[in-house]
C-alpha cells in the first residue's frame, strides 16, 4: 500500500469517528438540565404560548434523535445554525475564535519544540552531567506545577509588580489607529505572557520525552557502528541519533493536541484571550445548543486533524512503518 492510499484510508476512518463523537456530545448537551427557551427569554416575562411557539420554531419539541438528524443534515449542507443567544451564525463566531487559539498554540508549540529538542539532546548526550541534572530538575518542576497557578504568579510579577507586560486581551484599545508596526508590536506584548506559560509546561513534557528517547537511541548498535567507522560526533548525534529519537516525539506531539487544547483553555480564560477555550468556559453552562455543538465539533475536528497529521508525519519519516 502506498502512502497516498494510507492517507486516504485514515481520512475515511475519521468520518465515522467524527459522527460518533458528535452524537455523544449532542446527547450530553441536550440531556443537560435547563431550558434554552427560558434562557433566551431571560428576564422578560412571556406567555406560555409564545414560548411554545419559539420551541416549535427551533425544533426543540422533537425527540433528541430527530433533532440530531436535523442538525447533521444542516451540517452536511454547511450550516452550523445560529446562536440562540446572539442570533449570529455559529460559523462566524468560530471563525473569530479559531485563529486566536491557533495563534497561541502554534507559537507556544513551535517555541517549546525547539527548546525541548535542544535541551533534550544536551541532557542525553551529557548524561549524568550538571546540565542534565539542572534541565531534568527544571522539567520536573515545570511538569509538576499547575499551569493556571503559574499564570497567576506570572501576572502578579510581570503585570502587577513590575508592570512590564499586559495580562488581559490581545491588544491595547485604540492601537488600530497607530501605525501597523506599532499594532503588531503591541499585539506581541500581549502574546508573551500566555505563550510563555504554555511553553513552560509543554517544554517540560517534550523535554522528558526527547531525553529518554534520545538516551534509548544512543544505546543502539548502529550508533556504535557510526562512531566506529569514524564519523564526527556531531554527525552521529544529529544525523543518526536525533532523527530516530524524534519519531516517538512526533506521534506524541500530534496525539497530545487534546491535552494541549485543555491547558490552553485555562490560560485563555485567565488572560482573557478570546479563543475557543475562553469561549467554551464562558458558554458551557448556557443552553445555546447550536453554539455549543459548533464549538465542540471545532475542538473535536482540531484534535482529529492533529492525530491524522501525526500519523502521516510518522509514516513519512519512518519508512519501516506498515500502513495498516
Amino acid at each position: 500500500m502506498t502512502l497516498r492510499t494510507y492517507i486516504i484510508r485514515r481520512l475515511i476512518v475519521i468520518i465515522p469517528t467524527f459522527f460518533f463523537i458528535s452524537m455523544v456530545i449532542f446527547t450530553l448537551i441536550h440531556l443537560a438540565p435547563g431550558d434554552p427557551v427560558i434562557a433566551m427569554v431571560g428576564r422578560h416575562p412571556m406567555s406560555y404560548e409564545v414560548m411554545e411557539k419559539i420551541r416549535k420554531d427551533l425544533g426543540l419539541d422533537k425527540p433528541i434523535p430527530v433533532q440530531y438528524v436535523i442538525w447533521v443534515s444542516r451540517l452536511l449542507r454547511g450550516n452550523f445554525g445560529y446562536s440562540y443567544v446572539s442570533a449570529r451564525p455559529v460559523i462566524n463566531m468560530m471563525s473569530e475564535k479559531v485563529p486566536r487559539t491557533l495563534e497561541l498554540m502554534l507559537v507556544a508549540e513551535a517555541v517549546s519544540v525547539v527548546i525541548a529538542i535542544i535541551l533534550g539532546v544536551i541532557a542525553a548526550v551529557k548524561h549524568y552531567s550538571l546540565a542534565d541534572a539542572a534541565c531534568s530538575l527544571g522539567a520536573l518542576i515545570g511538569y509538576s506545577a499547575p499551569n493556571f497557578w503559574i499564570a497567576l504568579i506570572a501576572m502578579l510579577f510581570f503585570t502587577l509588580w513590575l508592570r512590564w507586560l499586559p495580562a488581559s486581551g490581545t491588544q491595547t484599545i485604540g492601537i488600530e489607529f497607530a501605525s501597523p508596526l506599532h499594532a503588531i508590536l503591541d499585539h506581541l506584548k500581549y502574546l508573551i505572557l500566555p505563550t510563555a506559560i504554555l511553553v513552560l509546561g509543554w517544554t517540560a513534557y517534550l523535554f522528558r520525552m526527547v531525553r529518554s528517547s534520545m538516551l534509548e537511541v544512543l544505546r543502539q548498535d548502529y550508533i556504535t557502528t557510526a562512531r566506529a567507522k569514524g564519523l564526527k560526533e556531531r554527525v552521529v548525534i544529529y544525523k543518526h541519533a536525533l532523527r530516530n529519537a524524534l519519531l516517538p516525539v512526533i506521534t506524541y506531539e500530534g496525539y497530545s493536541m487534546g491535552f494541549l487544547l485543555g491547558g490552553a483553555a485555562v490560560i485563555e480564560y485567565i488572560f482573557s484571550w478570546p479563543g475557543l477555550g475562553q469561549f467554551m468556559v464562558l458558554i458551557a453552562e448556557s443552553r445555546d445548543y447550536p453554539t455549543l455543538m459548533g464549538l465542540a465539533m471545532m475542538i473535536a475536528l482540531m484534535v482529529l486533524v492533529a492525530n491524522l497529521c501525526a500519523d502521516i508525519a510518522y509514516a513519512i519519516v519512518d519508512p519501516r512503518i506498515r500502513y495498516d
Binding site: 469517528t17 518542576i141 499547575p146 493556571f148 510518522y314
Partner: protein
C-alpha cells in the same frame, strides 16, 4: 499509538524461587531507596497525608475562626489571612484533605473501571473487545478538560463526589488500554495455558494468574494519575465548574485570585501546596516505575 508494554512472562517462568509477599515489598523498597528523589517524593506524600489526616490537631486555628481579614503572613498567621479573616495555613491543611481525597478517590474509581473493561476486552477479545476499544478511542481522542466541563454542566447540583465520579468516568480509557494489552500478551503465555489445562476457570485465571502480573503496572499508572486529578479538580473549580462549598485548594485559588492585586499570599500558598503534592507523587511514581521495572508510555 501506545507502546505495547513489554511482557514479563518469559522472565518470570524461569524463576524458581518465589519470595514471600513481605520479602517482595522489602525488595521493592530497597530498590526504591536507591533513588533519593523517589524517597524524597514518598516523604512529601507522607507529610501531606499526615497534614490531611491530622488537620484538626495540627492546624493552628479553627477553619471557621474569623479574625482580622487580609493580613499578610506574620508570626501569628504564617500564611496570612483571607478576605473573611480565616487563617490561610489552617485552610491549606484542611484543603489537603479534600484535594487528596479527590485524587485518591478518582484514581480508585478510574482503576476499577479501567481494570474491568481492560480485562474483559483483553481476555475475551472478539466483538466485545472491538466495541469497547472503539469507545476507548473516542474518549481518548476527546480533550479531557473540555469533556469534563461538558459532562459537569449536565448536573445542576455540584458536589465533590459528583466531580470525582465524572473524572473517574472520563479517565479510565488509558488504564483500560494498558490492562488490555497486558492481558492480550499474558493470555497466550505458558503459565496461563498450564492453568487452563488443569481446568482452572476463567475467573481463577484472571484473578490468580494474570492480575498479579499487571499489578505493578497499575500501581505506577495510578500513582502518576493522582496529581492529575487533583489538578483537574482545582482547574475545574477555578473555572467555575467545581463545588464552591468544598474546601479544596482549587476553591482557595478561585477565591484568592479575585484579590490578586492586594493579597499575593492568598494564591501563593495553595498553589505551592498543589506544586508540592504533584512533585511528591511524580517523584514517587518515577521511583516506583524503576523499582517495579514497569514500562509506561509517555503521556
Amino acid at each position: 499509538m501506545t507502546k505495547e508494554p513489554q511482557t514479563k512472562s518469559e522472565r518470570e517462568t524461569e524463576e524458581v524461587y518465589e519470595p514471600s509477599k513481605a520479602t517482595r515489598i522489602f525488595i521493592v523498597w530497597r530498590k526504591l531507596k536507591i533513588s533519593e528523589l523517589a524517597v524524597f517524593g514518598f516523604g512529601i506524600v507522607l507529610i501531606l497525608a499526615v497534614f490531611a489526616v491530622f488537620a484538626p490537631i495540627i492546624a493552628p486555628y479553627d477553619p471557621n475562626f474569623m479574625g482580622t481579614s487580609m493580613r499578610p503572613p506574620s508570626m501569628s498567621h504564617f500564611f496570612g489571612t483571607d478576605a473573611r479573616g480565616r487563617d490561610m495555613l489552617t485552610l491549606v491543611f484542611y484543603g489537603a484533605r479534600v484535594s487528596l481525597y479527590v485524587g485518591l478517590a478518582t484514581v480508585a474509581l478510574e482503576v476499577a473501571i479501567g481494570l474491568a473493561i481492560g480485562m474483559i476486552s483483553g481476555y475475551f477479545g472478539g466483538i466485545i473487545d472491538e466495541v469497547l476499544m472503539r469507545m476507548t478511542d473516542v474518549i481518548l481522542t476527546l480533550p479531557t478538560l473540555p469533556l469534563l466541563i461538558v459532562a459537569i454542566s449536565m448536573f445542576e447540583v455540584r458536589s465533590i463526589n459528583m466531580i470525582v465520579l465524572v473524572m473517574g468516568i472520563v479517565g479510565w480509557p488509558f488504564i483500560a488500554r494498558v490492562v488490555r494489552s497486558e492481558f492480550l500478551s499474558l493470555r497466550e503465555s505458558t503459565f496461563v495455558e498450564a492453568a487452563r489445562s488443569i481446568g482452572a476457570t476463567n475467573w481463577r485465571i484472571i484473578v490468580h494468574h494474570i492480575l498479579p502480573n499487571i499489578l505493578s503496572t497499575i500501581i505506577v499508572l495510578a500513582t502518576m494519575d493522582i496529581p492529575w486529578y487533583i489538578f483537574y479538580e482545582a482547574e475545574l473549580t477555578f473555572l467555575g465548574f467545581g463545588d464552591p462549598n468544598s474546601a479544596s485548594w482549587g476553591v482557595l485559588l478561585e477565591r484568592g485570585h479575585l484579590y490578586l492585586s492586594s493579597a499575593w499570599w492568598l494564591i501563593t500558598f495553595p498553589g505551592l501546596a498543589l506544586l508540592f503534592t504533584s512533585l511528591g507523587f511524580n517523584l514517587f511514581g518515577d521511583g516506583l516505575r524503576d523499582a517495579l521495572d514497569v514500562r509506561t508510555s509517555g503521556r
